[in-house]
């Protein structure tokens, strides 16, 4: 029983710090140990990177996908499905939620993918340095109009969102602070873009134009000086509000669903002590996200938060594809596959606005619920997929299965998934209609395969399965 608890806890860790794991991987990780697994996850450099050349051999257009979907999405989905550094991808997705930048305006998936790459490379490091990189990221500069922010004519878009959405949250600064921060970032722009025609797109490059920078004195959050952009970031990260804001984001994404971000200035955290713990680490480690994540994943508030998080569409799609397998190589239909999260309400690389996606319960409406259930059901109902086959083989090894054994076996191998008593009763009642199943003869084996597939489909259709 204790071993089963270890498996369940490891499954929880892998769902949150990654996109789930199949049973053989969970067993290997349990053998390695929980804390050792956390260390591996927060040190992605110990694992090989995604082999992007395989993708490009099949989909050359995924290299520079331009402004139209789905090739940018294909590139991103390929990384999500294949990564051996699950937390690196999860953290990149986290920052994509927070620093939401979208193709609707950028019109350039090449640049958006570069930004995701920045989150992969720097997302678990020093948050202060990440903000500086973000402020120099041409995709972000364009997205928030900082190329229109001139010494003689201030544009406040970047300055405002830096404070409101990226670091402090509403209520922790004044309109004057927005103005002064924006002044400090005048001259932070990108090189004049080379026209798209006739040779295609060229990468965007950061450029600092001293002659366009307002070098005058500024007064920002109680400090006074001839601040430039980096000075502003240095002041921002020292604010207590910054630590709280970043840690609440981490809690909301990795631990348990919180109210939507705009409500944070009026609604206090559901677990203030957890936020205090994370905040202390954030400050002591000088804004080191890796250190905060280490504390987070090893905490009891994390370990006790199983199924307290509504899966995002990205988690639904990527988690399912990694579970069933067979999608490691690009194959026909990958384009539509990579658009699946958008059909469920999360258009990756194209969030609805700089405020990012509303999460938790707001992922669900009558259309998206059907889309997510049907997508997952179609996969787990296909016994030709290696991950489904692996589940069947494990059940088969147990010999003849009673209805209860079929249900519990499927629940176990899909998670373990925890379902309510009423749900379990329905599942068992369905299994009872089929009676015992076994693989002892060829005819019964075919039926048994089919029954497992049908039970898996019924389970992924439950309410409980919508949570991670």
């Amino acid at each position: 029983m204790a071993y089963q608890d270890d498996i369940a806890l490891m499954a929880h860790l892998m769902r949150r710090a990654g996109f789930g794991a199949r049973r053989d991987e969970l067993e290997a990780r349990v053998a390695k140990g929980y804390e050792a697994t956390v260390e591996e996850l927060i040190h992605p450099e110990t694992q090989p990177p995604v082999d992007v050349y395989t993708l490009l051999r099949y989909h050359p257009a995924a290299l520079l996908p331009g402004g139209q979907p789905p090739m940018g999405n294909v590139n991103y989905m390929y990384h999500l499905v294949n990564t051996k550094r699950p937390l690196e991808e999860k953290v990149a997705l986290f920052w994509h939620h927070v620093f939401a930048t979208g193709n609707s305006k950028v019109d350039n998936y090449d640049q958006l993918l570069l930004q995701i790459n920045l989150f992969r490379e720097r997302g678990m490091g020093d948050y202060r340095a990440l903000l500086v990189e973000l402020a120099r990221n041409p995709t972000m500069l364009f997205w928030l109009d900082n190329n229109e922010n001139h010494g003689t004519a201030v544009n406040e878009n970047w300055g405002r969102e830096l404070l409101e959405l990226f670091s402090l949250g509403v209520g922790s600064y004044t309109e004057k602070d927005v103005r002064e921060a924006s002044r400090a970032f005048t001259g932070w722009t990108f090189e004049t873009k080379i026209p798209r025609l006739p040779y295609g797109r060229f990468p965007w490059k950061f450029e600092y134009r001293a002659e366009d920078h307002d070098d005058g004195e500024k007064e920002f959050l109680g400090h006074r000086g001839r601040f430039n952009g980096e000075d502003i970031i240095n002041i921002v990260v020292e604010q207590p509000a910054c630590a709280r804001f970043v840690c609440r984001h981490l809690y909301n994404f990795f631990v348990a669903d919180e109210p939507q971000v705009p409500a944070w200035s009026i609604e206090s955290p559901s677990d203030p002590k957890a936020i205090d713990t994370l905040t202390a680490t954030f400050r002591e480690s000088h804004y080191d996200i890796r250190s905060v994540l280490r504390v987070l994943f090893n905490s009891s508030f994390f370990k006790n938060a199983r199924f307290q998080h509504m899966k995002s569409p990205a988690e639904v799609v990527v988690g399912s594809l990694r579970l069933v397998g067979g999608y490691e190589m690009p194959r026909p239909g990958y384009g539509d596959l990579s658009m699946q999260p958008s059909y469920m309400g999360q258009d990756l690389l194209n969030p609805p606005s700089v405020e990012g996606w509303h999460t938790g319960q707001e992922w669900i409406n009558s259309g998206s619920l059907m889309a997510r259930i049907n997508f997952v059901a179609q996969l787990v109902g296909d016994p030709s997929l290696p991950g489904v086959r692996a589940i069947i083989d494990r059940l088969k090894a147990k010999g003849t299965l009673s209805p209860e054994q079929l249900v519990d076996g499927c629940l176990d191998l899909l998670g373990p998934v925890e379902v309510g008593a009423d749900t379990r009763r329905e599942l068992v009642d369905q299994a009872k209609e089929w009676g015992q199943i076994s693989w002892d003869r060829e005819v019964s084996a075919q039926t048994a395969d089919k029954r497992v597939g049908e039970m898996l489909q019924l389970i992924v259709a439950t309410r409980e399965y919508q949570f991670a």
Partner: protein, 376 residues
Amino acid sequence: MAATQKDPVLVVVQLSGGNDYLNTVIPYNNPLYRDNRPAVGIPDAQVLPIDKNYAFHPAMAPLKKVWDEGKLAILHGTGYTNSPRSHFRSMDIWHTCEPDKVGTEGWLGRVAREYDPNKENVITVVSFGPSLFRALAVPGVPVACVAGPLEKYGFLPTVQERELRLKVLDRFARMYAPVVGSGVMEYLGTTGLDSLKGADVLKVAPQRYASTVKYPETPIARKLRGIAQVHLADLGSRIFYCDHGSFDTHAGQNPGHGALWSAVTEGLEAFMTDLRQHDHADNVIVLMFSEFGRRVHDNGSGTDHGAAGPAFVLGDKVKGGHYGDYPSLKAEHLVQGDLNPSMDFRSIYSTILEKWLKVSSKPIVGRAFEQLAFLN
């Protein structure tokens, strides 16, 4: 509220991506049109004149027929001030009627709540598209979202054996039964049951449907055929929504733009013919819009994001003609190179709400707007 057969019905066709105004309703006698469109202008010999000032794109012949019948209203210069030129933000503004902040409720979702506050008919709104359009999204308002063919709509389409399917769906309903306690489980339950019920009602539509009309093999025609199936089945649906695209013709506008319009107008022709043959056309109007128009001067191969665009309303009860003014093409009247909107899109919505859907427009669009004369 049980809907009767003759309750007014609205069909929205969303032209996603930003449809080019100048090459849709072409000011073909205006020299500024030629000056601004050296690369993607439509030659005089090809345009389809609808009067002495304007012509349709050559791919829009089926729509010209509707115009000739006097059943097409062209709404000129639609948009709003400070057009953001972002696809998403612009579409959001059209969907939520909130030009200055991020809105949370879709305008047609509000209509659905008004029509059916107790959710007696979970298919008051039926959407044909990959995801829920924000125009339809209001928390707690059910919308049937048909992503693929209507015949396959429902939960777990891969469970096909009839008997097993009935059982499984029955179990699904019980597993989503109301629970006491946690709000999110309750919400999931309601949402699941609403969609299940919607699928159950909708499945009769393809069974009841018989038609001699042949729809073209295009995505938009398939969606419109689905709408016809549901409408002809008299299931009380009042609002239908579908989209076609992408009209985002930055490059290769010719012939791409024409192919898009062929698909839309040929699909609509089949749709209206189908409805008329079944005597179900006179309580339907179709609204077509795009999130913005495109830049006046072309970029050598296509056109970039612009501001004002045209919207269209068609149907047997529509009074055809031009409404509003085509914005000036003169350089001094352009805003950042774009046509300056001359008609707030909420005027169109208000007119449809008050005169067609018979609901009070102010709570839905925010305030009073000018009523237009394309409906009686």
